[in-house]
């Protein structure tokens, strides 16, 4: 998008005043800015490393998708049969000599655990890492009784010493640098020879914790999975602290959510293969403990250590399995939140998330869980209020979807929670009476203005186009940008889209409709005039028409409504669903006539292929999903089926800004990658002889409207930073299909990218 240099300088001087009039907005932006500065680097290095590791490690599996499907089906079955599995595990554990306690909530669980500790006369409890124990805050409950609770996972121990919250569900101290840990140890222990290297810090912690474990009375663990058939629990660890926690103490308390149950021991297998690979990129972690407690190991008596180790003391071990409901059984009855219970807490969704990579879990808030699927957990366990705090940070880029080993549609959970927040908690005091007249949405009054503005983008764009010269001048004028920022939270540092005077549909009609006759045509297709293409970036629409016609396709560009993607991004589900129905109605005659639907904007195609499944009857959904193609996917298919590549533009031609040569830097759109169409552009470019550098950044950071919002401008730019690093200093032509990617890349690289189809389309 072109910048508007005549707009009175209102963009760049807005930094200091950003959001000044809205305290919430200022606080949120301030908090993000602080985290970017303090924790951003450590989080970014670690999460991006994990994420790359995931690609490598899962890439070594020949049957990755099969394993995921197997894992998913085990979880679906287990949650369906949960009451039966709870009965089964209770029977099995009791037959083994252990106890099962089914706790309704955190207080109930803590009461039971305190009783166990009191009966044991426990002075110290050692713990291995367990998010569920964080959820119920059992440390505080035990400490209130005078029990010394020691976290033995090195990361958790660091946080306990620093009195901080985990920032990542698997690597809790991911936000702390080695230097910060060294400073912490020096301050807390004042050692003669302060440890500094990772090796020294680890050995220092190993010794200290080793001593604390030796005279502990109670060992607490979580459980990653529990088999109902045998009472066997599986723990995924690397350090060996969970092994020591269990072995060194005679009383083992395992705390686990009820959703951890699977039917049989054999069901563990796919999860063991997937969990480490998905999370930190390890094929398998160092230790997979599969315990059927009470365990048989003798209890080493470190106080009276002259006795033989193997003294039969294993027979006196106690085991308590505390299964926690705490909202989970209600989630099971909630069609949307139910999927959350399939989560195996591997952290893949956090690591794949552009925003998480930049700021980490502390920005995502939440009482216990942060990032990705955390919205589902927090909504189910703590309630909508808590989930609302960070729900915004899901941009719907959907890169977590293929990363999730159990295939949870995490963006949908975020959307659905956003919808509930919109409906339940909107502040009715806003000035939206004017807006109510202007926009046709299906949402209740009182909805946040910024949400509505973006959600009704299709209507606004149409209005902008009709009043184009005036609207464009007004939209980017300084005073109005200030108002837009204050009232709707649209950051002044962003360029706004400039509306076209002649829409794509109008142009197509004016030039006389289809140019390829029905007799000559190899295929017939509808080019979908999405809102951005039709009213703003008409050039890429014309290029699509030229490219397809050059390949022998009879093209139509009918007037069709918006896809519903903008309202969907704002959690306005009813509006999006209505849009899906309208658009399907508009497309139905074309589908009846066996016309393909070619989509220029990747987020619209992703909506057809993903969310429309939820909005349309199955037959309609499948019909549209099967008939619709990404523009470059379509070009690829035509070439594969014998179309002549010579009809398209080869790299040697042209020297203008659109075709500055053979070398291309291509950023695939996040959602296009999720629906597996991101690679077609690369394939077509290479076939035509271009030299392509493909970005490996999950999402550019703009993600639809996200980066326009004042609260998130800095975060959005930081998320895009790896793109600047990878593509910034090249002489390559920058290419991207998404409208918002285009705006972001323009801001990051100061080079306005073109849509892939514009590179290969014949010149006008």
């Amino acid at each position: 998008m072109s910048s508007d240099a005549e707009a009175g300088g209102g963009r760049d001087d807005g930094v200091d005043a950003a959001g000044a009039s809205d305290p919430d907005r200022e606080t949120k932006a301030e908090r993000i800015r602080e985290l970017l500065a303090t924790e951003g680097d450590a989080v970014a290095a670690n999460t991006r490393g994990f994420n790359e590791g995931r690609y490598e490690s899962t890439g070594r599996l020949s049957d990755y998708e099969t394993l995921k499907a197997e894992a998913r089906s085990i979880k679906e079955d287990a949650i369906e049969r949960l009451p039966e599995l709870i009965d089964g595990v209770t029977e099995a554990v009791e037959a083994n000599g252990g106890t099962v306690y089914l706790a309704d909530d955190a207080a109930d669980a803590n009461r039971y655990i305190r009783e166990v500790a009191a009966e044991r006369g426990a002075e110290r409890a050692v713990k291995s890492k367990s998010m569920t124990s964080e959820e119920i805050e059992v440390n505080d409950a035990l400490a209130a009784d005078g029990v010394d609770v020691v976290e033995t996972d090195l990361g958790e121990w660091v946080l306990q010493l620093a009195d901080e919250e985990p920032s990542h569900i698997v690597a809790p101290a991911i936000h702390k640098s080695r230097e910060a840990i060294a400073d912490l140890f020096a301050e807390r222990f004042d050692p003669e020879d302060p440890p500094e290297t990772a090796e020294e810090l680890t050995m220092f912690a190993r010794e200290r914790l080793g001593d604390l474990v030796e005279d502990a009375d109670v060992g607490m663990t979580g459980a990653n999975f529990i088999a109902a058939d045998s009472g066997t629990m599986l723990l995924v660890t690397s350090e060996g602290n969970a092994r020591k926690t269990v072995t060194a103490t005679d009383t083992h308390v395992a705390v686990a959510g009820v959703e951890k149950l699977v039917p049989t021991v054999e069901d563990f297998s796919p999860f063991v293969e997937l969990i480490g690979r998905s999370g930190t990129g390890q094929d398998v972690t160092s230790y997979i403990s599969t315990l059927t407690p009470p365990v048989d190991s003798p209890v080493p008596d470190f106080q009276d250590d002259a006795d033989p180790l193997a003294d039969g003391s294993g027979d006196d071990r106690e085991f308590h399995l505390v299964l926690i409901d705490n909202g989970r059984m209600a989630m099971r009855d909630d069609e949307t939140l139910k999927e959350t219970l399939y989560c195996i807490r591997c952290s893949a969704c956090s690591n794949a998330c552009g925003n998480f990579q930049s700021v980490g879990g502390h920005a995502f808030g939440g009482e216990t869980y942060s990032g990705g699927i955390a919205t589902g957990w927090e909504a189910g366990i703590e309630g909508l209020d808590v989930a609302a705090e960070f729900n915004d940070l899901c941009t719907g880029c959907s890169r977590c979807v293929p990363a999730c080993p159990v295939g949870i549609d995490i963006p949908w959970i975020n959307t659905a929670v956003r919808d509930r927040i919109n409906r339940g908690e909107a502040d009715p005091g806003q000035l939206d009476w004017a807006f109510e007249e202007l926009v046709p949405d299906e949402e209740p009054g009182g909805l946040d203005l910024a949400t509505r503005l973006v959600g009704n983008y299709a209507t606004l764009a149409e209005w902008g186009h009709k009043t184009a010269p005036v609207a464009n001048r007004l939209a980017n004028a300084g005073p109005l940008r200030a108002v837009a920022e204050r009232v709707a939270g649209i950051d002044r540092r962003r360029d706004l889209p400039e509306f076209a005077r002649e829409s794509l549909v109008e142009w197509f009609e004016a030039r006389g409709g289809p140019a390829v006759s029905a007799d000559e045509a190899t295929r017939e297709a509808v080019v979908y005039p999405d809102t951005a293409t039709n009213y703003v970036d008409v050039a890429r629409g014309k290029a699509t028409v030229r490219a397809l016609e050059a390949l022998g396709v009879r093209v139509r560009v009918p007037d069709l409504p918006g896809s519903g993607r903008p309202p969907l991004s704002q959690g306005m589900i009813a509006t999006a669903e209505a849009a899906a129905e309208d658009l399907y109605a508009g497309l139905a005659p074309h589908l009846d006539a066996d016309r393909d639907v070619v989509v220029i904007e990747p987020s619209d195609l992703a909506t057809f292929r993903r969310e429309y499944k939820r909005f349309l009857p199955t037959d309609s959904y499948e019909r549209l999903a099967d008939a619709s193609y990404d523009a470059m996917e379509y070009a690829f298919g035509l070439l594969e089926n014998g179309a002549d590549p010579a009809a398209l533009r080869a790299p040697s031609e042209g020297t203008g800004p659109v075709a500055s040569g053979k070398r291309i830097a291509y950023h695939p759109h996040c959602q296009a990658r999720t629906v597996d169409v991101g690679e077609y552009a690369t394939a077509v470019f290479e076939r035509l002889g271009y030299d392509v550098l493909v970005s490996d950044t999950e999402c550019c950071g703009m993600a639809g409207s996200f980066g326009y919002k004042t609260d998130y401008y800095e975060l959005s730019m930081d998320v895009g930073e790896p793109l600047r690093e990878q593509l910034g200093d090249t002489d390559r032509t920058v290419v991207a299909a998404g409208t918002s990617c285009t705006e972001q890349l323009d801001a990051l690289l100061d080079a306005a990218p073109t849509h892939p189809i514009e590179v290969i389309a014949p010149r006008e």
């Binding site: 083994n96 996972d153 090195l154 990361g155 660091v158 690597a171 101290a173 640098s177 080695r178 840990i181 990772a198 090796e199 810090l201 680890t202 050995m203 912690a205 190993r206 914790l209 088999a227 058939d229 045998s230 066997t232 690397s238 350090e239 060996g240 092994r243 020591k244 072995t247 049989t264 021991v265 054999e266 563990f268 297998s269 063991v272 398998v284 972690t285 160092s286 230790y287 997979i288 403990s289 599969t290 315990l291 059927t292 407690p293 365990v295 048989d296 190991s297 003798p298 080493p300 470190f302 009276d304 250590d305 002259a306 006795d307 033989p308 180790l309 193997a310 039969g312 294993g314 027979d315």
Partner: protein, 202 residues
């Protein structure tokens, strides 16, 4: 198991920085002697690992204290145990937390020397859980699948020996036939430094 499984297993162990010695059961004591540091504690073969090990020619050297006190364990540099199963595709060994103390002897030491029969190798993870399922249901066994040394990245870099052993050495007892040749260091040729000490800093 098949030759392919054995070579997959040893290759994976090599990737993990785990040293491997392989030879016939009769050479077990010599291989353990070479692999174990000092002082060393252990659990005698057969009490640790499959029962059949008790009747095989495989033994531990005399210097391994096989009825240790907790004080012996605390002082020990090396712990020697058997494994019940090996998982070729992952380089994992299955250690049983039995009444004889296999788990603490494997865990509260700097170096863990694991004796595994080649016959107890299975190709992949599903085979391991097919083996575990009936034993968990019928005998309530407790098994740790250990893959390489203890590790952490929580302190700003990958370090081995966070809580558990810093080094692991696998002694693989060949099925038979190779009896005359004595022990061999499986990875010495293709993998460079085979000595566990050299690997520990990775």
């Amino acid at each position: 198991m098949s030759l392919a499984d054995t070579s997959t297993f040893t290759r994976r162990l090599d990737d993990l920085g785990v040293a491997v010695s392989a030879g016939p059961p009769a050479e077990c004591a010599a291989m353990v002697e070479a692999a174990a540091g000092d002082p060393a504690v252990g659990v005698s073969l057969g009490r640790s690992g499959p029962d059949a090990l008790a009747d095989s020619p495989a033994t531990l050297p005399d210097r391994i204290e096989t009825d240790p006190t907790t004080a012996d364990l605390r002082r020990a540099h090396t712990g020697v145990t058997a494994a019940s199963l090996g998982v070729a595709a992952y380089g994992s060994v299955a250690l049983e937390a039995d009444a004889a103390g296999t788990e603490p002897v494997s865990l509260f030491v700097d170096r863990h020397v694991v004796v595994l029969r080649e016959a107890d190798l299975v190709p992949d993870m599903p085979d391991a859980f097919d083996w575990l399922g009936p034993r968990a249901r019928d005998e309530s066994v407790d098994v740790v699948f250990a893959t390489g040394p203890s590790a952490t990245a929580d302190m700003g870099g990958l370090v081995h020996g966070a809580h558990g052993p810093k080094e692991v050495h696998v002694v693989l007892l060949r099925d038979g036939g190779a009896g005359e040749d004595g022990a061999d260091d499986v990875d010495a040729d293709e993998a460079g430094p085979e000595d566990a000490d050299a690997e520990a800093g990775r």
